[in-house]
């Protein structure tokens, strides 16, 4: 199977689905020039003229317009250049997009996808390095997707583009260049199915997005010590595959939950508390969380590198948990 970067996989998913479905359109800042800062939308303008619109710097306008078009028969994909700027469109996301189906008693589908480059990369500091999954999963009506591989990214974006509900699609900037095998045939990955990326007996690491490759690295490092780590990739946070996570915890009886978000109030809190509530009897040890430091992202390389958990932290935490 050919190896592809997550960036290319996302681009393929967009092109293939736009080919299939005329109602898909793309909106965002600089999405034609260079295909956006991460070049994901490159080539759409040539191939699907008129179906991609480069917008003013108007995040509220972009998201609002995308939603309006979605209510009127289109299937818009809006790129918000950095998820940090989604804060400029939060009413549109939370009070409108998430709620229109419910408030209107199910009169309308809401097929809109927001693509949201996320996380730290290249010392972009406090206003360009955030993760907001935890906010979105707190809002009923939104679906939240966090792919960790090129393969998953393509399959999940396809499902997003075929669904009827709003999708917040978190693209971790540092993962754009990560490569994995991506088949040429069409496939889609259903929402609500976690993926056991590595089987193991001793400890479960429930990991999201950029923490998945680190969890796999940690598992490899721990294997020679006889510690057998299972890595569960959440893939979608809403809907969430509780069954898969609980099954793993019931097998290993020890669990670390990890993501790149600020720890306080992050996704890891939701997952850890689900386990503590519904899987308590299976636990032989505290539910450990590993997530980002509770600070705005600092600029200096000497500080930035301290914020997000590293493989070595996962290794240490795992040792501690089995020790």
């Amino acid at each position: 199977m050919p190896k592809k970067s997550m960036r290319d996989a996302l681009r393929e998913a967009l092109h293939e689905e736009m080919e299939r479905d005329d109602s898909i359109i793309v909106l965002g800042e600089d999405v034609i020039a260079h295909g956006g800062p991460y070049a994901v939308t490159r080539g759409i303008d040539e191939k699907f003229p008129g179906r991609i619109r480069q917008t003013p710097i108007s995040e509220a306008g972009i998201v609002g317009t995308a939603l309006g078009a979605a209510l009127c028969g289109m299937r818009p994909v809006a790129e918000v250049m950095y998820v940090d700027f989604a804060t400029c469109a939060m009413d549109e996301v939370v009070n409108q997009m998430a709620k229109v189906r419910y408030m209107f008693g199910g009169q309308t589908d809401v097929p809109v996808v927001l693509r949201l480059p996320s996380g730290s990369a290249r010392l972009l500091a406090a206003q360009h390095s955030q993760c907001l999954e935890a906010w979105f999963l707190h809002v009923p009506g939104l679906q939240v997707v966090v792919p960790s591989t090129a393969y998953d990214a393509k399959g999940l974006l396809k499902t997003a583009l075929r669904g009827k509900d709003p999708v917040l699609f978190m693209e971790y900037k540092r993962l754009y260049t990560n490569e994995s095998e991506v088949p040429d045939e069409d496939y889609a990955i259903p929402f609500g199915q976690a993926d056991v990326k590595r089987e193991g007996r001793d400890v479960t690491i429930v990991a999201t997005g950029p923490m998945v490759p680190k969890a796999l690295e940690a598992a490899d490092l721990l294997a020679p010590e006889g510690i057998d780590v299972e890595v569960v990739d959440t893939r979608t946070l809403v809907p969430f595959d509780k069954a898969a996570v609980f099954a793993s915890v019931e097998k290993t009886n020890r669990v670390i939950v990890t993501d790149e978000e600020v720890k306080r109030g992050g996704t890891s809190a939701e997952i850890a508390s689900l386990i503590a509530e519904e899987c308590f009897d299976a636990l032989d040890a505290p539910v450990k969380r590993l997530a980002a430091a509770e600070v705005p992202m600092p600029f200096s390389p000497e500080l930035e590198k301290l914020v997000v958990p590293k493989t070595e932290h996962l290794v240490a935490a795992t040792r501690e948990l089995v020790g």
Binding site: C72, D91, F104
Partner: protein, 327 residues
């Protein structure tokens, strides 16, 4: 291209719709005073001369977006008042199955994309509706109703600019009733003529007396035709006045009884339309009484329908959050 004057039939229909709004809301306020309707209730009474003549130019396939003050827009666009009343009563037969209430009534079948509890919440929806219409080349238009207060929010600026630069078929209609809740417009902006903001977007700005339904009909006709021809948005400002409080229960300390009477006695859009139709020989006393009686019966039937409808069952709570059952 001058807008054709409305036909006699159209005028009668407009007139009936204006009464439908008026009497529906008087009834809603009464039901609210009885504790049968709960939650926020913002009436459109006094402003009927805006939505009705504008929507008279629209088909069911055209779109409108609305505000927290949405009943008038719903009725003007052709929504069914029984399902509206049932919604106010929180019943399962309401437009939103009782999940929305006054601030969220929508009727997608007639292109009414929802009342909106967020001031300026409609700008993005209307702009997107216009984008969808433009991409399909369907000739549909979208009308975005908003208040003078909403004009001070960012989405006004962002979306009108998008609509303008993409030449979308949208008419942005400011219902300038001169107050935002309890705050007079002149206290919060130096530019009280919203139409004068249109040069900032390179689109026409038109101001019209919103108490004069025929003037509104004409101005809206031009703006809507312009949009249908692909020439882009218009900012249409209708100067108007709400006769009742911001919401039901508002003690209205921010304005005088005299000011209210000045508008409601002398400039009531229903009276103005009636006078015009009478002068033109298009409305007899009998017809007038007939229309009002018919509407009153509709309202009575709507209340009966609402009252006799069941509340949503508890299992409805988790429905419609997503298209599927999230478990």
């Amino acid at each position: 291209m001058p807008v054709e004057a409305p036909s006699a039939e159209k005028l009668l229909d407009m007139y009936a719709r204006m009464w439908r709004i008026r009497l529906f809301e008087e009834q809603a306020e009464y039901q609210s005073s009885q504790g049968k309707v709960m939650g926020a209730l913002h009436t459109y009474i006094g402003e009927e001369g805006v939505a009705v003549p504008i929507c008279a130019h629209l088909q069911d396939t055209d779109y409108i977006t609305s505000t927290h003050r949405g009943h008038g827009h719903c009725i003007a666009k052709g929504a069914d008042i029984s399902r509206m009343m049932a919604e106010l009563f929180g019943r399962s037969t309401g437009y939103c199955k009782g999940k929305g209430g006054s601030m969220h009534i929508a009727d997608f079948k007639v292109g009414m994309l929802g009342a909106n509890g967020i001031v300026a919440g409609g700008f993005g929806l209307a702009t997107g509706a216009g984008l969808a219409a433009q991409l399909r080349g369907s000739g549909q238009v979208a009308v975005c109703f908003f208040g003078d207060g909403a004009a001070n929010r960012g989405p006004f600026h962002e979306n009108i600019n998008i609509g303008a630069v993409w030449k979308l078929p949208v008419v942005y209609v400011c219902e300038n009733n001169q107050f935002a809740q309890w705050t007079p417009q002149k206290d919060v902006t130096l530019v009280t003529d919203i139409a004068n903001m249109s040069p900032a977007y390179g689109i026409p700005g038109v101001q019209v007396d919103g108490m004069d339904p025929l003037a509104v009909y004409e101005a809206a006709g031009e703006a809507i035709e312009r949009a249908r021809r692909g020439e882009g948005p218009t900012l249409l400002e209708c100067k108007t006045y709400r006769f009742h409080g911001h919401n039901f229960g508002d003690p209205q300390q921010y304005r005088t009884r005299e000011e209210i009477a000045e508008w409601s006695d002398n400039r009531d859009p229903i009276k103005q339309l009636a006078a015009h139709m009478r002068d033109a020989g298009l409305l007899s006393d009998e017809q007038d009484a007939d229309i009002q009686n018919t509407v009153q019966e509709e309202i009575t039937a709507a209340v009966r329908f609402a009252e006799s409808s069941p509340y949503p069952t508890p299992d409805e709570l988790y429905k419609d959050v997503y298209s599927y059952d999230i478990g």
